[in-house]
């Protein structure tokens, strides 16, 4: 209901705002000047940077000016059929610039829309667009241009060394961290890291339902940020010793069996089942190993879990500054957990693949050996490959794709196992990921539903919106079925094996967030956005740059622009025709035409699914 109110508010606003009405051209106008008309524009498309423009047409008079998206350019009158002009082109939302000729007396021609392009592109616009959908929180005009200029290799180099956009240290509450996530996503230059951190936070899950303080949650996000481009082993180690995780899954203050209690199994189980291996043996391509009767093979037994639970005994919270170390330290979340020898189960333990840890080892020795035991398991490469591919590229990767990425996990080319930079690069540069670049290579089962966080950030970045550090975008995300940092369980916001609605064979994890209410909420939010509103404070958004394009009565220009903005310029023909028809039916309502074009594009399944 909150949304509907704001929408009405927006409508009133738009009704009160000055209305841009295209006047149909008359042959002769009251001022006596003719109505100009454009025949050709050169160059077309216009390259970014300085340009010299030649316009031919008719009805040009002395004092006529070339209008470039509403800005008058210095113009030289050559003849009544020819003008020249100079200007500078920069990336804009829509990648399409309406050009008109304005005779003195504000007598304007019909616009001709010219595409703006990067003339030194190493990568086509559409390819850069799709890559950035997978690797960032959404393509902005500037981000597309930058990638086009520098190419993938340089882009990765830059991203791997971008400074980390921080989450607020000692945040007063998790709400601040939620704002930070959207702020970093919309404005941070370390896009790849933040996107991977989101994926990792959905793999190594903790939840604000239990870890409820900003000060206990934020250190965990720091770990994910710092380790996102490191080695998977280090990530696993740092997560294991994180007091936030220790509190969430009970490694903190897990003491060896005493007085009828046994060590806590919580982390031991989830570390393998959800975070690193999955419950059944996998082939190298991520498919389950099936025995002769078609059944899966469990990777561990209840006894294995109990042995791992004993490994993870003897750890407690870091020692608060000034406090005396104890076996059970009070909750404190700065730095890794510390061992307390007397609480560690020093008996021998049998782990995966029959590895036996000898009796008498310290808590640290046992933990290192156990993590190495898991890290070396053949399930880890295909399991992690599948998880990251699902979050970045596709819910249903082919086994061959998983295998290629898993192979890079096994060996990055220098003999190192678990190099996350190499894995991320392999995921994004894989031919199957790049099949997204062109409709001719789209895979019918490819892509993934944009989860609410990514749906919101993609729309806003497509439109070049910005947000403040105190934005309230988390409220939208929650209404759409994803309460940021509050997954309902350790399985995350949506389980990786959630079946695509209507299918028995395909997966659609993010569809678990979509239902009758959240689905409508997504559409309704787009309706608000299309009128220039976001239903959220702390966000600056404008759709007014589309307005001049609405003057094209065929609707073609505006449709192209929204296609460039949201769909890499690849909107299917049937959608284009439908949207052009709507625009053409609103000749005196440019605001409505712009809103309709954005609404119809961004609410569609074609957009809601990143593919």
């Amino acid at each position: 209901m909150r949304f509907i109110r704001s929408y009405r508010f927006l409508l009133i606003l738009s009704a009160a705002a000055p209305v841009y009405v295209w006047q149909a051209a008359d042959a002769q106008t009251p001022s006596g000047n003719p109505t100009p008309a454009i025949t050709t524009i050169s160059p077309n498309p216009i390259p970014y940077g300085s340009f010299d423009l030649s316009v031919t047409g008719s009805g040009f008079v002395q004092g006529a000016a070339v209008s470039y998206g509403g800005t008058a350019l210095p113009t030289t009158f050559v003849s009544s059929t020819s003008l020249t002009s100079t200007g500078t082109a920069a990336p804009v939302v829509g990648a399409l610039m309406p050009i008109t000729i304005v005779n003195p007396g504000s007598i304007s021609s019909l616009p001709v829309s010219v595409k703006l392009v990067q003339s030194n592109a190493l990568i086509p616009y559409a390819s850069a667009f799709h890559f950035l959908e997978q690797a960032t929180f959404g393509p902005t005009p500037a981000a597309i241009d930058h990638l086009q200029q520098i190419g993938y290799s340089q882009w990765f180099t830059e991203q791997f060394s971008e400074p980390i956009s921080p989450f607020t240290p000692n945040a007063p509450d998790i709400t601040q961290l939620q704002s930070d996530l959207f702020y970093n996503a919309l404005t941070g230059s370390d896009q790849l890291r933040q996107r991977v951190v989101l994926a990792l936070s959905e793999l190594f899950v903790i939840s604000g339902f239990k870890v409820w303080q900003g000060s206990s949650f934020e250190p965990y996000l720091q770990i994910l940020q710092q380790d996102a481009f490191g080695n998977f082993y280090n990530l696993m180690n740092d997560v294991t010793l994180s007091p936030s995780m220790g509190y969430y899954l009970d490694v903190a203050n897990n003491v060896k069996g005493a007085s009828g209690e046994l060590p806590n199994e919580n982390y031991a189980r989830e570390l393998m089942q959800l975070f690193t291996t999955g419950p059944v043996l996998l082939n190298a391509n991520g498919t389950p190993q099936l025995n002769s009767s078609g059944a899966t093979t469990p990777l561990y037994t209840e006894t294995t879990i109990q042995n791992f639970a004993r490994v993870f005994t003897g750890w407690t919270y870091p020692v608060m500054p000034g406090a005396t170390p104890q076996g059970i330290n009070p909750n404190y979340y700065v730095g890794p957990m510390v061992a307390w020898a007397a609480n560690h189960d020093t008996g021998s333990k049998t782990l995966l693949n029959g590895l036996v840890l000898p009796a008498g080892q310290t808590a640290q020795q046992d933990l290192t050996a156990a993590l190495q035991n898991i890290f070396a398991h053949p399930n880890v490469p295909p399991f992690i490959a599948t998880m990251l591919i699902q979050h970045l590229v596709s819910s249903n990767p082919s086994p061959a794709y998983v295998r290629r990425v898993a192979n890079v996990f096994i060996n990055d080319g220098t003999g190192t196992r678990g190099n996350l930079r190499a894995v991320i690069e392999a995921i994004l540069m894989d031919p199957e990921a790049r099949d997204s670049d062109s409709p001719t290579t789209w895979i019918s089962t490819g892509g993934h539903l944009r989860e609410p966080i990514l749906f919101i950030t993609s729309v806003l970045r497509n439109l070049n919106a910005t947000a403040t550090g105190s934005n309230m975008l988390m409220g939208l995300s929650e209404e759409m079925g994803q309460a940021v940092f509050y997954p309902e369980s350790v399985a995350g916001y949506f389980p990786p094996n959630y079946t695509l609605p209507g299918s028995t064979t395909l997966l659609g994890p993010e569809f678990d967030t979509m239902n009758s209410s959240s689905g409508l909420y997504r559409v309704n939010w787009i309706n608000g956005v299309s009128w220039g509103g976001t239903s959220s404070t702390g966000v600056t958004l404008s759709t007014s740059s589309f307005l001049p394009l609405a003057a094209d009565p065929t609707g073609v220009s505006l449709t192209k622009a929204v296609s460039n903005t949201f769909m890499a310029g690849q909107m299917p023909q049937d959608m284009q025709t439908a949207i052009e028809g709507v625009i053409a039916s609103l000749p005196h309502d440019p605001q409505g035409a712009v809103a309709s074009a954005i609404y119809l594009t961004a609410s569609s399944g074609m957009y809601q699914v990143q593919h």
């Binding site: 409508l11 094996n497 659609g508 569809f511 309709s596 699914v609």
Partner: protein, 441 residues
Amino acid sequence: MKIGCRSVAALGAVGAFGRFGAMNLMAQSSEYRALVCIFLFGGNDGNNTLIPTDSTRFQQYSTIRGDLAIPESQLLPITAGTKSTPYGLHPALPEIQQLFSQKKLAFVTNVGMLTQPLTQAEYQQQLANIPTDLFDHTVQQNQWQTTDTSSTEASSGWGGRMADQMASLYPSSTGFPISCSVSGNAVLLNGNTQPAEFLSLTGLTLSQLTVPPAAATSAAFQQILTFNSGLSLVQAANTQTTSAIQIDNLVNTALQSAPPLTTPFPNTPIGLQLQQVAQLLSVRTQLGTQRQIFFCSAQGFDTHSGQITNQQTALQPVSQAMLAFYNATQELGISSQVTTFTESEFSRTFQPSSGYGSDHAWGSHHMVMGDAVQGGDLYGSFPTLELGGPSDANTRGIWIPTTAVDQYGATLASWFGLPSNQLSTVFPNLPNFSTTNLGFL
């Protein structure tokens, strides 16, 4: 209820009046029935939900459970009809105690996932079909809803399969589906042919589609949803949106015409969900439904640590909401036509774990509620409360179930009207058990 007559009456009515006439007749008759599932996510500890209080077993309980044992003085005593010994309920369950003593509620004991009857030796020596990934939250949540004990995947749910079988016997005049969740997307309700509706109500109404000012825009919006992109996920998203719009219209229109319920509900997540179900029940005639399965859920049962406090916090709202819901069905005059039942992925180890908690186990005790329930009694057998004893799968007090989820579900399904010849289609493990109806309905 004369179950045997219903399908005959329904078929006769279809023959006599044609499809639409039959539906009106059915909707106005007393034949309406609903099942309401409350899923306790995280694995509710059955061992502290229902406790035997005869001196021998209570002694076993307090010795082994140690820090987790609830003092007898705090337990809520109940007398189970056919049982000679007393039991007590968790102190968070006074409303459940009341319903039980009024015979509106029964417990089914030691229920869990089973493919076939299983002895301790068969389990320990792996001599029989054992459900896969028994102690895994996700898989067991799925299996309780699918009864597919060989799969880790979320395939079709038994509620959804039941809807598949029953949709033609009990069609809905408005197209409102049999299966409806008010708690997100539920595997239980996934059918192979029948759609399930996953509502997520805000308050008591659905969010409504904001209609763009231009009619042409609205029309194009609907049209674009029908385009075939050839991309499976895109099509699924369009289908979801289309269905959301239809249901939104249907439900909101119906709710606007319904007199508000006066039964108060607690302002808790499960309280609000059950209030939403009650509200939907109040417009069952407007929605044109004759059979409905609802899915609700409550969180917070994964009590690995701090269990004494955490289970209290998790159970109390369930108890309060269940009584409110029962009262609402009385207000609507359908307390004999609505049966509510609990599910949860597993119970918890009888032996505690470090941190005053317990770990994942297996068989647990579950509740069924409604006037149709033969209440005030326990059904099924009760595990022997000994570590490593005859009921234990290993040595931590992980009870091997003596009643299968298939039997539990089939009993509910039979009452719901699923023809007996379709029971094994919906519950594929059922033929492995000699008892197909547990008798609590």
